[in-house]
C-alpha cells in the first residue's frame, strides 16, 4: 500500500478502510464508557479474550476466513464467557473478580490452543490470516466486510443514543432504575450485548489481546477531563476515533498489525489527558502552584517596602540591599519580583524603589490582613500572640475582600494587633 495514496486519501478503498477503522474504534469507545462506569472493565477484558476460541472454532467448522462467520463464533463465545462468570459467581463462593480472571485465562488458553492447532494443519490453505485476530489488522479486510462492521458500529451508536438516559440511570443506580419502572433486566441484557458487539467489531482493528484497552482507555481518559456523562461520552468518542485514525495510518506505513499502534496512540492521548487536563491535570496544578508562589512573593515584597517606610517614617526610595537586610529574602527572587512589580505598575525605580499608588494600597492591604488575622486568632481561637505570625503569613494572601469585610466587622474594626502594631484602615 502506497503511503502517499494513504495520506492524500486518493484511493477509495484506503479511504474506506481508514474511515471504517475510525468508526469501529469510536463505537467501541462510546460503549466502553458504560462498561467502565458499571465497573465492568475487567469483564470487558474477559470478553475480549474469550472471543478467540469462537473465532477459531468457527474457522474449523466452516473452513473459511469469512469475517462474518468468524464473528458469529466470536459473539457466541463472548456471551458464553459472561454467562460462565455469572454462573460461577452465583453458584459458588468465588468472588466476581476471581471468576472473571479464571474465565479469561481458560477461554483465552483454549483459543491459543486452537489457533496453534489450526496453524499446524497441513491441508488448510490461507489459515495464516487468523492471527490478525490476535493483534488486529484492519488493512487486510475486504470492502464488503467493512461495510458490515461499519453498519454494526452505527447500530451500536444509535442504541447508545436512544437509550442514553436509561443507561445513565442503570450505571449510576440500578436499584433506583428498577423502582421507577425501567425494564432493568432488558436494559442490562442490551448493554451487555452492546459490549460484546463492541468487542467483536473492535477486534477487527485492535485484536483480542489489546481490545480491553480500546474499550476502557478512552473512557478513563475522558472521565479525567470532565465530570459530566454527556461530555465524557463525546470526549471518549473523539479519543477513540483519533487513535483509530492515527493507528491505522501508521500501521499501513510500516505494514504491521494495527492494534499495537492504535493502543499506542490511545496511551499517548490518555497520558496527555493526565498531564493537560484543565483542572486536575498535572500541568494545570503546576501552573496554579507557580502563579500562587509568585503572588505570595509579590505581596511579600510590597508589604516589606510598605512596612519599611512606615517604620522609618519616610517616603524615600528603598534600596534593594536595605530590603534584604530588613526582611531576609532570596536575592535572586527579590530582584525578579521587583522587576515584575515595576512592570506591572506597583513600583517605580528612582534611585531605589518607590511604591506607586496602587502598590501602596496593596502593601497596606496585606499588612492589614496580616494583622487582622493575628488579632482574630488570638481573640477567637485563643492562640498565644507569639504563635500567630506564621499562620498569618500564609492566610494574608488568600483572604478575599468579602472575608476581609466580615473579619473587620467581627473584630469591631480594631486599631491594634496583638503585637501592638497599628492596623491600617482601608
Amino acid at each position: 500500500m502506497n503511503w502517499l495514496e494513504f495520506i492524500t486519501f486518493d484511493n477509495a478503498l484506503i479511504r474506506n478502510v481508514v474511515l471504517g477503522s475510525t468508526l469501529l474504534a469510536l463505537s467501541s469507545s462510546v460503549v466502553g464508557c458504560f462498561t467502565l462506569l458499571r465497573k465492568r472493565a475487567l469483564v470487558g477484558d474477559a470478553v475480549s479474550h474469550s472471543v478467540l476460541p469462537g473465532v477459531c472454532l468457527a474457522f474449523l467448522f466452516q473452513g473459511t476466513k469469512d469475517p462474518l462467520v468468524l464473528l458469529i463464533g466470536a459473539f457466541i463465545t463472548g456471551w458464553l464467557s459472561l454467562l460462565t462468570i455469572d454462573l460461577i459467581t452465583k453458584r459458588s463462593r468465588i468472588p466476581e473478580d476471581a471468576a472473571t480472571g479464571l474465565v479469561l485465562s481458560v477461554f483465552f488458553g483454549v483459543g491459543i490452543l486452537l489457533l496453534t492447532y489450526i496453524q499446524h494443519l497441513p491441508n488448510l490453505a490461507n489459515q495464516s490470516g487468523l492471527d490478525s485476530f490476535l493483534f488486529g489488522n484492519i488493512l487486510s479486510i475486504s470492502e464488503k466486510d467493512l461495510y458490515v462492521f461499519g453498519a454494526v458500529a452505527i447500530c451500536l451508536l444509535t442504541c447508545v443514543w436512544l437509550f442514553y438516559k436509561e443507561f445513565q440511570v442503570l450505571s449510576f443506580d440500578e436499584g433506583y432504575a428498577s423502582t421507577i419502572g425501567m425494564p432493568v433486566k432488558g436494559l442490562r441484557l442490551l448493554l451487555t450485548t452492546l459490549t460484546v458487539l463492541a468487542v467483536v467489531v473492535g477486534i477487527q482493528s485492535v485484536g483480542v489481546v489489546l481490545m480491553a484497552a480500546l474499550l476502557i482507555t478512552p473512557a478513563a481518559a475522558a472521565r479525567f477531563l470532565t465530570n459530566r456523562l454527556g461530555p465524557m461520552v463525546i470526549i471518549a468518542a473523539i479519543i477513540g476515533a483519533t487513535a483509530g485514525l492515527t493507528g491505522t495510518f501508521i500501521s499501513s506505513a510500516f505494514r504491521t498489525p494495527t492494534g499495537p499502534w492504535i493502543v499506542m496512540a490511545l496511551s499517548i492521548m490518555a497520558l496527555g489527558a493526565f498531564f493537560f487536563a484543565p483542572k486536575q491535570g498535572i500541568l494545570a496544578k503546576w501552573i496554579r502552584q507557580r502563579h500562587w508562589n509568585r503572588q505570595i512573593q509579590d505581596e511579600n515584597i510590597l508589604k516589606a517596602i510598605f512596612q519599611f517606610q512606615l517604620d522609618n517614617n519616610s517616603n524615600d526610595p528603598v534600596q534593594t540591599e536595605t530590603l534584604i537586610k530588613w526582611r531576609p529574602m532570596e536575592a535572586k527572587q527579590l530582584r525578579s519580583g521587583l522587576k515584575r512589580l515595576s512592570s506591572q505598575g506597583y513600583l517605580e525605580q528612582n534611585n531605589g524603589w518607590l511604591l506607586t499608588q496602587v502598590g501602596q494600597k496593596r502593601g497596606e492591604r496585606i499588612t492589614r490582613l496580616h494583622r487582622l488575622w493575628e488579632t482574630y486568632l488570638t481573640k477567637y481561637l485563643k492562640i498565644a500572640p507569639d504563635h500567630v505570625h506564621e499562620d498569618a503569613e500564609s492566610i494574608e494572601h488568600i483572604i478575599t475582600p468579602e472575608l476581609e469585610l466580615e473579619l473587620e466587622k467581627l473584630l469591631d474594626y480594631p486599631e491594634k494587633d496583638p503585637h501592638d502594631s497599628s492596623i491600617p484602615r482601608s
Binding site: L162, D173, G175, S178, G181
Partner: protein, 265 residues
C-alpha cells in the same frame, strides 16, 4: 392521581405474611401489617432488624420467600409511578460523572418513559425540588464534591421530583445536621398535609414521637404497628430493642447453617 377505585379508605400499604431471606437466612419473618394513607410513618428497629430489607422487598428489589405487599390496594406494578424510593446513600458510587441536577432529573425519567429526553418543565420541577431540600446553590456541583448529608438530600430531591403519592425513605436523616433535619421533617409534614403517605426509616427515639403519627416496630418479625400514641410504649421499645438475641434469630441462623429454605410461597 390514584386509580379510580382507590379511595382514601384504601390502605397505603398492606404487607401480608412477608418472609424474606438472604442465602436461606430469614431476616424478615411473617411480617403482617397495614398502614393507612396520609400518615407520616416511622419504621423503627435496631441495626440488622430488616428495615432496609422490608423497603427493598416492597420496592421489588429483593425477592420475597412468601407473602405480598400491596400498595394502594394493588401490586407495585400497577402503581409504580405513584411510588417513590429513597435508598441509603451508601448504595451507589458517588464518583459517577453527574451534577446534582443530573441526579435529581433522574426522578423525572419514570414518567417520561423510554426514549424521551427531559424537557424544560422537567428541569424546572427538578430545580424546585432542589430548592425544597436547600441544595439549589449546589445544582452544578459534581456529586462527589458533596458532603454525606448533602448527598442524602440529593436522593431526597430526586424522590420529590417523582411527584409520587407514597414515599419510602431509608434513613434520610443519616449524616444530616439538626437544622436540615428540621427543614426536611417540615417538608415531609407538609407532604402529609397534601395527602401523601411517607415511610421513613429512623433511628432516633427522642425525635420519633414528635415526627411520626404512625409507627412500625420491627425486629426480624413485626413487634408493633399502629398510631404513635398507641404503640410508642415502654414495652414495645423493650421488645424491639431488648439486647438479647431473640429465639427467632437463633433459629434463623440454624436454618442458614443447615441450608434449609424457611418457607415456600
Amino acid at each position: 392521581m390514584a386509580d379510580q377505585n382507590t379511595t382514601s379508605a384504601t390502605p397505603a400499604l398492606e404487607v401480608h405474611d412477608l418472609t424474606v431471606s438472604y442465602h436461606s437466612k430469614p431476616v424478615l419473618w411473617g411480617v403482617d401489617f397495614t398502614v393507612p394513607q396520609g400518615t407520616l410513618t416511622g419504621i423503627m428497629g435496631p441495626n440488622g432488624a430488616g428495615k432496609s430489607t422490608l423497603i427493598k422487598s416492597i420496592m421489588g428489589l429483593v425477592e420475597m420467600n412468601s407473602g405480598f405487599a400491596h400498595i394502594l390496594g394493588g401490586p407495585l406494578e400497577k402503581v409504580r409511578q405513584q411510588v417513590s424510593y429513597v435508598p441509603q446513600r451508601e448504595s451507589v458510587d458517588w464518583n459517577f460523572p453527574a451534577s446534582v441536577l443530573d441526579v435529581v432529573l433522574m426522578g423525572r425519567y419514570g414518567k417520561l418513559g423510554l426514549f424521551k429526553r427531559p424537557r424544560k418543565a422537567d428541569k424546572e420541577a427538578a430545580l424546585s425540588c432542589l430548592e425544597d431540600v436547600g441544595l439549589l446553590p449546589f445544582k452544578d456541583r459534581q456529586i462527589a464534591q458533596l458532603s454525606g448529608g448533602q448527598q442524602q438530600r440529593v436522593f431526597l430531591a430526586r424522590a420529590l421530583a417523582q411527584d409520587a403519592d407514597i414515599y419510602f425513605m431509608d434513613e434520610p436523616f443519616a449524616g444530616v445536621d439538626a437544622a436540615t433535619e428540621q427543614a426536611i421533617i417540615n417538608l415531609l409534614k407538609k407532604m402529609r398535609e397534601q395527602g401523601k403517605t411517607v415511610f421513613v426509616v429512623h433511628h432516633d427515639l427522642q425525635t420519633a414521637p414528635e415526627y411520626f403519627d404512625w409507627m412500625v416496630f420491627l425486629n426480624t418479625r413485626l413487634v408493633a404497628n399502629g398510631p404513635t400514641k398507641k404503640v410508642f410504649t415502654q414495652e414495645v421499645l423493650k421488645e424491639t430493642y431488648g439486647g438479647k438475641l431473640s429465639l427467632l434469630v437463633q433459629v434463623g441462623d440454624l436454618l442458614a447453617e443447615e441450608g434449609l429454605p424457611p418457607r415456600k410461597g
